[in-house]
Amino acid sequence: MPFIPHTEKDIHEMLDAIGASSIDELFDEIPESLRIQHLDGVPAPINEMQVTRLMHERAAEDAGALSFIGAGAYEHHIPAAVWQVTTRGEFYSAYTPYQAEASQGTLQVIYEYQSMIASLTGMEVSNASLYDGASAVAEAALMAVRANRKSKSRRIVFVGGVNRTYQKVAQAIAGTQGLLFDELPFSTETGLADLDALTSMDEPPVAVVISQPNFFGCVDDVDALTDAAHALGALVIGVVNPTALALLKPPGQWGSNGADIVCGEGQPLGVPLSSGGPYFGFMTTRQSLVRQLPGRIVGRTLDVDGKPGFTLTLQAREQHIRRSKATSNICTNQGLMVTAATIYLALLGEQGLARVAASSHRNTLNLVAAVDALPGVKRAFATPVFHEAVVQLDRPVAPVLAAMAEQGVLGGLDLSADYPELGHALLVCATETKTEQDLQRYFETMQSALTADSSLRDVS
């Protein structure tokens, strides 16, 4: 796609043609009182050299450490071919191309992506992606309210153990549109969602959000949760880790009827951690709900000569046609991240992804079993996990993690502020990227941090 810049002369000619004196004048119809004069927290402009320097410094803060933190974003090996192909000029755009006659390659990549994600989640249709996992949950909540017309409720319920960052983002995005969000309890004994809390709800919610695995890495009883939610007349939104789906039952097969909307964070599929983004969100659903799906959808069709081709489809959902009643204001997507994910999945294949998942699962189990043997350290839940687990210490977590970080090991996510009911807890993750030596290093680093820090043991 060529880059065509506007010169000052071009801009003036265009403004002259429509009789405007300046670009600002185009916004005249927005009253002065509604315009933001300045944005808090946005620093003054800096030049390219300064930005480059700043970004290198920031990136260096993350670099080099051996990371055992997951909590929503996961370090996986990305075959070199993934980004070699993704960054070719032909693919190098974040946009969903709408000119089918000029964009068959990109449209086909998105179509392949949709096919793979639909297959992975066990659902019938997929969109072309959303911004990230958290905003996908918000979009799924809004979609559920549109789709579940039999329900009078605008309350969305998260079963216990769904990532709280997702809950906060959903609240921020959809809370202003009249949706209400509640979180049900989880068991501090097992780390699993409290099924009774769901079945005994007085007022049936419009949708129930179930995650697999949950934030603590635990594998929930999604069949029972799904059936309980459906019995309340609620739609089921499944939030899943795509890597885990290589081993676990896809949401399309949860319970008697399957989940209704499935979404999640796509980052584990070939997108580097890169200090938090850009990532992408995925979303799939049943064919019967496709008209309520947000975002773009690529379809396969025949051209006038009867040859197969690809084009955007079901556009009547979108804002350029449905205006304020569009299913979302997302008219582009994370196209570049999706291209990477498509190539990643194509390279690994079904078996490759299953090997990544199994290897991550095994590494985490080995790591947790090892540290569980350390005095003052224990695995919090005996529940099956995917590739993440909660570990409890006999003393505050932060100083231990700080001591480990000094030795170049990021030992996990401190849960004590967000989940005080779990005590001195941290969340650890060991993906397939970790070798036996890495696990040994974690063990030794934690051991030495605990020994050096024995004065802080909490005897209560």
């Binding site: 017309r149 039999k150 009547a316 046609i321 449905r322 009643k325």
Partner: protein, 131 residues
């Protein structure tokens, strides 16, 4: 423009209503509306027993180039929907006043029906739009 059926009521949103012998009201969109929309590809029908307030969305008619709401012309309860439109939305194009009906409703307040346009008034309304 074909002849407007004389036994129907019309709204300025280009919907028609037929008052049945049992008091129920059948709703559809007019010939003018289907022509303006073009070939329909999908009709989103309401739920049976859905309670509607005048001005609520009753249905959505979607063509290849546009999607429009069909509004409830009065407070009413939905008693039946034209399921045939799920598989054959083109019935709205081919027979808007017959096979292409959208929903049957039970009005709350029948007096509103008297305020709607008859065929002559709607014809005049259309001519004014086109002038």
């Amino acid at each position: 423009m074909s002849e407007l059926p004389g036994d129907l009521k019309y709204t300025d949103e280009h919907e028609w209503l037929r008052i049945e012998d049992d008091g129920s009201v059948v709703v559809g969109i007019t010939e003018h509306a289907q022509e303006a929309l073009g070939d329909l590809v999908y009709v989103e029908l309401p739920e049976i027993d859905q309670i509607l307030t005048s001005g609520d969305g009753l249905a959505v008619v979607e063509s290849v180039k546009a999607a429009s709401d069909v509004y409830a012309p009065l407070d009413a309860k939905v008693t039946d929907v034209n399921e045939a439109l799920t598989d054959a939305p083109e019935l709205v194009n081919s027979d808007p006043y017959g096979e292409g009906w959208i929903a049957r409703i039970e009005p709350e307040d029948r007096s509103v029906l008297d305020e709607l346009m008859d065929a002559d008034a709607y014809q005049a309304f259309l001519e004014k739009l086109e002038s």
